[in-house]
């Protein structure tokens, strides 16, 4: 068996209350590696694509990769995958924390959950076996409360939990791991809720199958640790968290402001920045299992209207979406909004984006105070925002409209709403403005879960956090506001970056170490003997597989578009006057990806990648 794998997967049927193990051959593992790539392969092979995402027929997959549990930095991760109830297409959401390594130690590379329980249940997995138990006493509790209770029962347990948003089938619901780590995007918490699955609890103590020994691994490990120690990026992430981007991004035109309509709010950004958080509210940095970077923030707000007990702090995305996007200059209010989203179990990007939409429509008079139940949704009114966060999680009042995300909300609200949403394929864009970085615009158009900054390494390469000329042809420095040369950069950055979610390694660690080090560690663990070309080819297969999945669900070239607002130039800020040349970007990119005019992978490319089954389905 290939190294790094526990050697078996768990299949659970909640309708039947049954479970069984299954295995996959080395040939499959070598082609699809693990994480979200392997999940997509399993989904295509075994499940109906057209089932309602909130029906029992939509499987929920929790997958690790071969590096998870090895002790290599940044490999605590796992991917949760399903068909998205928010977008209707492929959904995956990678998460750090503690769950992944323990699942491996409990003997499983992944879990596939089918069906629907009659009532709320907990799925528990440990070295000695599997059990399904009643979760009635946990149903209704928020993620922090449920996590605390589950850890009271077993303090060593690692838990995945949904909150009220998932229970109420909000299509922007997230899944939380140990309070501070989330599979946030694309509504996977609602899929879990639709199965009446409140929690998955793992406790793994076995050391076998997760320890990679050997001189090659030791050397790669030692090299990685030194590279991380020498990395200014890693240092910055440790000191300021991902919110280090706020100050830098405001200068370069990366940070969206006032629902993507403004630029250059430097004072606003400074209040919300990583240095400010560090200076005023940080109590300590927190790390996922085996991570020397420790980018996670633990914060506390002692007093004021948004006082918050010590707990997980916001990432950059949250600081932008509940800060600059809403014209809110108060970081304590962002911290409170983050805590509420964590507790209720909602994706902060989707939730904040939906509220930004509502604020804009309120300003335009398209939503009245009466419709909001008396809330004054003026820009920056964070008391109203926090109440709307709560209503969204519980589908109360106007929150019921926002609970399915900005695109669903815009459809229901009509008027100018849809023109005010920045999304691709139904998923709200993360907080990186494609007008400031045209490559990111292309990446949004082509990412397989909709607008996404985590299905590739474009953020690192286009913004200059990393340069890997040994891996593919690239420059040290790219100008953000040009589309020339970006298609190839995006294509290559996808092929390398998408591997993060199959190998299950953190982006920040991958940015901080050389590709040679990652390759050597991967080979030392798996024994696959991949060179760079093999790695990039595997990434190509991963992307193409998921594209085919979406093609089978009706996605075509017509869906590869940036919305009107993202194509409207700003008058000020780092991205002033700039919009991506989408025609150029798509033309060059389609050629590189071997996509036909419909946006389908060409048959010869599918064959070259060993995706013959997919070819048969796309070309039947």
């Amino acid at each position: 068996m290939a190294g790094g794998y526990a050697g078996k997967f768990l299949r659970v049927n909640l309708t039947e209350g049954s479970w069984s193990d299954f295995t996959l051959g080395d040939d499959i593992l070598k082609m699809f590696i693990g994480g979200s790539c392997l999940a997509a392969k399993l989904f295509l092979d075994r499940y109906p694509l057209d089932a309602d995402p909130l029906s029992p027929e939509n499987p929920l997959m929790i997958m690790t990769g071969p590096m998870v549990g090895s002790g290599f930095p940044g490999t605590s991760r796992f991917s949760v995958c399903a068909r998205s109830p928010q977008t209707g297409i492929w959904a995956e959401s990678a998460c750090g924390g503690t769950f992944g390594p323990d699942l491996k130690r409990a003997g499983y590379d992944g879990v596939v959950i089918e069906g629907r329980s009659n009532g709320p249940v907990i799925l528990a997995i440990d070295d000695s076996g599997v059990s399904i138990s009643d979760a009635s006493s946990l149903w209704g509790k928020d993620i922090y409360e449920a996590t605390d209770e589950l850890k009271t029962r077993d303090k060593s347990a690692k838990v995945l939990v949904i909150g009220p948003a998932g229970e109420n089938l909000a299509r922007i619901a997230a899944i939380g791991n140990d309070k501070g780590h989330f599979s946030g995007r694309a509504g996977l918490g609602a899929v879990m809720g639709s199965k009446n699955l409140k929690a998955v609890v793992v406790r793994g103590t076995s050391a076998k199958a997760v320890k990679a020994d050997g001189e090659g691994f030791k050397l790669a490990m030692k090299t990685a640790m030194q590279e991380i120690k020498d990395s200014a990026l890693a240092e910055g992430l440790h000191m300021m968290g991902s919110d280090a981007n706020m100050d830098l991004g405001m200068v370069t035109g990366d940070v969206p402001v006032k629902n993507w309509t403004s630029g250059g709010e430097f004072d606003l950004a400074s209040n919300l920045s990583g240095p400010t958080m560090r200076e005023k509210y940080l109590t300590k940095a927190h790390a996922c299992t085996n991570c020397p970077i420790a980018c996670k923030r633990v914060v506390k707000v002692d007093d004021g209207p948004f006082a918050t007990a010590e707990g997980p702090g916001p990432e950059y995305e949250t600081c932008a979406v509940f800060g600059t996007m809403l014209m809110n200059p108060d970081l304590t209010a962002v911290i409170k909004a983050n805590e509420l989203c964590n507790r209720y179990g909602m994706d902060t990007i989707s939730c904040g984006s939906a509220i930004a939409l509502a604020m804009e429509l309120y300003e335009k008079g398209e939503i009245t105070k009466d419709r909001l139940g008396g809330l004054d949704l003026s820009w920056g009114n964070m008391d109203a925002v926090l109440e709307l966060v709560r209503q969204t999680a519980y589908r109360e009042g106007f929150g019921d409209i926002l609970a399915d995300g900005a695109v669903h909300a815009a459809r229901r609200l009509g008027g100018s709403a849809m023109d005010a949403v920045v999304h691709v394929k139904g998923l709200e864009a993360p907080m990186h403005d494609p007008r400031g970085f045209h490559g990111m615009g292309l990446a949004y158009m082509m990412s397989n879960r909709g607008a996404c900054h985590l299905q590739h390494f474009v953020l690192a390469t286009e913004q200059g956090m990393a340069s890997w000329p040994q891996l593919f042809d690239m420059k040290d420095d790219y100008e953000g506001t040009t589309s020339v040369g970006k298609a190839a950069l995006v294509y290559n950055s996808e092929n390398y970056g998408i591997l993060a979610n199959s190998l299950s390694i953190c982006h920040y660690v991958a940015y901080s170490i050389r590709p040679e080090t990652l390759r050597d560690a991967f080979n030392a663990i798996t024994g696959f003997g991949f060179d760079f070309a093999d790695l990039l080819s595997t990434g190509m297969r991963d992307w193409t597989l998921k594209r085919g999945f979406n093609n089978l669900l009706g996605i075509t070239s017509k869906d590869d578009v940036l919305p009107k607002r993202a194509m409207t130039a700003l008058e000020e800020g780092g991205a002033a006057g700039s919009v991506p040349d989408t025609a150029l970007l798509l033309k060059e990119y389609y050629a590189l990806r071997a996509l036909d005019e419909r946006g389908f992978p060409k048959a010869e490319m599918l064959v070259r990648l060993g995706l013959d089954d997919l070819k048969s389905r796309l070309y039947q």
Binding site: M240, A244, G274, P275
Partner: protein, 141 residues
């Protein structure tokens, strides 16, 4: 008339350019502290020895701008080190200094969050650097 790079005359010109910039004073109003640049030698590019440059910035004003020894360079609040060719790329705006730092092409000793918070000041002084009429040791582009 171009001035030979990394000489005292060049430092004087750089200082004068900063003082003459209409926007520098307001952009750099919050900046406190000296910066030194350490230029690693590259004999093949006519830089046979390390070069140390010390620059004192204070709330929009500038103080000492001198070619110095290692000891004085090390005394600065921020010490940035890189190969000669990298510094030249930065001056020519072929390589953004922040990106160079993140990619490990330049190294910095000092308070990174402070630099991030004041990134507009950093960008401004580099922008002015590129405007100094310079004669580089290995020739101009």
């Amino acid at each position: 008339m171009p001035i030979k790079a990394m000489t005292q005359e060049w430092m004087d010109a750089y200082k004068a350019a900063i003082q003459a910039d209409p926007d520098y004073k307001s952009i750099a109003k919050d900046w406190e502290g000296s910066v030194s640049l350490v230029v690693n030698p590259e004999p093949a590019r006519n830089v046979p020895e390390p070069i140390y440059l010390f620059m004192d910035y204070w709330h929009g004003d500038v103080g000492d701008f001198v070619v110095c020894d290692k000891e004085k360079a090390d005394s600065a609040k921020f010490v940035m080190t890189g190969d000669y060719a990298r510094w030249k790329q930065v001056a020519y705006k072929e390589l953004d200094a922040t990106k160079a730092l993140l990619q490990g092409k330049l190294k910095m000793k000092g308070d990174l969050p402070y630099v991030v918070r004041n990134i507009k000041t950093v960008n401004k002084v580099i922008d002015i650097l590129g405007k100094v009429d310079t004669l580089w040791p290995d020739g101009n582009k």
